[in-house]
Symmetry: C2
Subunit: 378 residues, 2 copies
């Protein structure tokens, strides 16, 4: 049960109690965040970044931590999210293990980690926690809220629950609701962790750790975060040198297998398995259609009607052709729904070969798109 | 270690020894097959069906076994593969557990199942074994060889190694070589089985059985065999009734999860885990480009040149837009390569929403395509 908190992280204490959407409440909870640039006198130049499942709040180097961040090429002076103009805030998700309170944190009621006694976590709880950071920083209204992947869901939750909280919105490879293919993939990732005997109902430690379950979950993640197209060019059918190949029966043989293995090994000990389970499930549960009157079961129309309840002046929904986890039609749906709600909303499909993760690496395409949108805000 | 042999299955003894492509040989091995219709006097009306990873030889009801088969709608009198005209032969893959010799079969040298002492299995070994069935039945030349999925690979191996063995070829959702995305998925499926402590290096029995590893492998299979598009319409975000939902933490909640679970449970005890490992790996190894002179590493050009070594009069490569495991460009590649080799080869992309498995269920599209091709054979 380890938390992984970058140096220089700042914290906001959440109200005590902090009620959770599906019941129960947190006590003495906090949210981790970092900032770049400065809030102007009018307090109208704030841009909030909401992240995918695994990142911390350290999106890029700043004064408190000069190490490069996970979105280094995008955030900073002169960069697409330009901290010379914008006061940029990045929040670590509630439920994570990277500074914000989550299942790996100590429950003040017991003095021990929450583990599975952590209350059920919704995307909405993450949105409310992020809002507390904004209030603490004196931000009444954002110039823009940017959400990537899971953060795209969190942004929509924030917008639909708090009308007027943002003038504009960029949704990157996000979704207004979880679709069954993505639910199936995430369900299988969670099952891989739960099946690992070392998971032990959430009661593991660093010695008895569900390493193989986490490795399997991460590999499946990486497979669905990238794209077949990219891998064809990158790995083809290249085999490992004999000194790197695996001697075990049915062991590693192809470059692509070794790539997955390396990715998984890097991740496994740097993310808490219970936190992974909670955050993963919160995505399955999310549907912005919950915010309008039910007309029968959940449906496309329902989701779009939920999106239309959101009121922003301007929006951009960016997606990638090769994304199989949050497929392009989901960003189209977001743009269409926000337009129904009165926004000047644009859908921007990009030709990136890198799949769902393209926004992290294809800066050549994402940089200008994000910069262009932000520059266009009067 | 159980084999699953449908009643009425017929067998051909393989030559003893039966040399395997990657070394070693089988002794006392056999291949299971079934037939429909009758061989004509000219012996020129035979159609061979080569299957995907899991099916047995019982493609459809016949005199020896009136139970419906796995391709019931496609094979029989008056059906698209019309047994009134064609003598149809379906072969169970070598290495399988459904009648042909495989890792679950008894090694005559020890009297115990082969398990991991079974020699390394290649797609090519399956092709040679199928050829033995043809020879036994007195077939010198096929009217057509039809290969589905893995069977599409086996068909190409047969064609490239035995010029003149078939006048024509239908390749359905097949591939001329494994691509890294598919290798990654299969590698992860194999890892799920290998990580199950009950797999025990291949030394399990019905009581100590790698059930959870097999379930995980099968779920990942089903996810990649079908398509996101189909599931959107089929499951959406429908949840299980409270009496069917899982009480366990992070247990089943959505219809799509329950569907996967049911599929997996049906499969797990009906396919031998070691056979699964061997057949799965044989697909990763396959590249028809092996059959022409190497010009540097494996590449697209190499694979296409290998295809061009195949000589058939007429060919049809059918694929499906929603197939993520054997994506459409692989069937396009097959058609292009066979055309390079002089065939009148057509590429037929279908709009089936069911992904890789569409050929099993979308008979409305596949039926006419296959019937049309076979009817057109003079």
């Amino acid at each position: 049960m380890t938390e992984f908190i970058p140096p220089g992280t700042r914290f906001v204490a959440l109200p005590d109690p902090f009620p959770m959407r599906r019941g129960d409440a947190l006590h003495g909870a906090r949210v981790a965040y970092e900032t770049w640039g400065a809030l102007n006198a009018a307090r109208d130049n704030a841009v909030l970044i909401l992240t995918g499942l695994s990142p911390d709040a350290h999106a890029a180097a700043n004064e408190s931590n000069p190490e490069p961040g996970w979105w280094e090429a995008m955030v900073g002076p002169g960069k697409p999210i330009d901290s010379d103009r914008w006061f940029v805030v990045c929040v670590n998700s509630l439920g994570s293990c990277k500074g914000s309170t989550g299942p790996a944190s100590i429950d003040p009621a017991t003095g021990a980690p929450y583990r599975l006694s952590f209350p059920e976590l919704s995307i909405e709880d993450g949105a409310e926690a992020a809002l507390c950071v904004l209030r603490e920083l004196g931000i009444e209204r954002l110039a823009c809220v940017i959400g990537n992947s899971m953060g795209g869901m969190t942004a929509l939750a924030l917008l639909v629950r708090h009308p007027g909280i943002a003038r504009s919105h960029i949704n990157i490879s996000g979704a207004a609701r979880a679709l069954p293919f993505s639910i199936a993939i995430r369900s299988l990732q969670r099952e891989a962790i739960r099946l690992d005997p070392q998971w032990n109902g959430g009661d593991y430690d660093d010695d008895q750790y569900p390493e193989s379950g986490m490795r399997m979950a991460r590999k499946l993640g990486v497979i669905t975060y990238r794209s077949a197209l990219e891998w064809d060019g990158r790995f083809g059918r290249v085999r490992l040198d004999s000194d790197r190949a695996d001697d075990e029966p049915f062991g590693l043989e192809f470059e692509v297998e070794s790539y997955l293995e390396a990715h998984a090994r890097r991740f496994v000990r740097r993310f808490d398995p219970n936190c992974y389970l909670y955050l993963s499930r919160s995505m399955d549960w999310f549907d912005v259609g919950d915010y309008c009157e039910r007309r029968g079961g959940p449906s496309e129309g329902q989701t779009r009607a939920g999106l239309a309840k959101i009121s922003v002046e301007k929006a951009l929904a960016i997606g990638v052709h090769t994304d199989i986890l949050f497929p392009l039609q989901q960003q189209q749906e977001i743009a269409d729904g926000l337009r129904d709600g009165g926004a000047d909303a644009r859908f921007l499909p990009l030709e990136s070969p890198q799949g769902h993760d393209a926004f992290l690496v294809d800066i050549a395409r994402f940089g200008p798109a994000v910069r262009g949108f932000l520059d266009g805000l009067a």
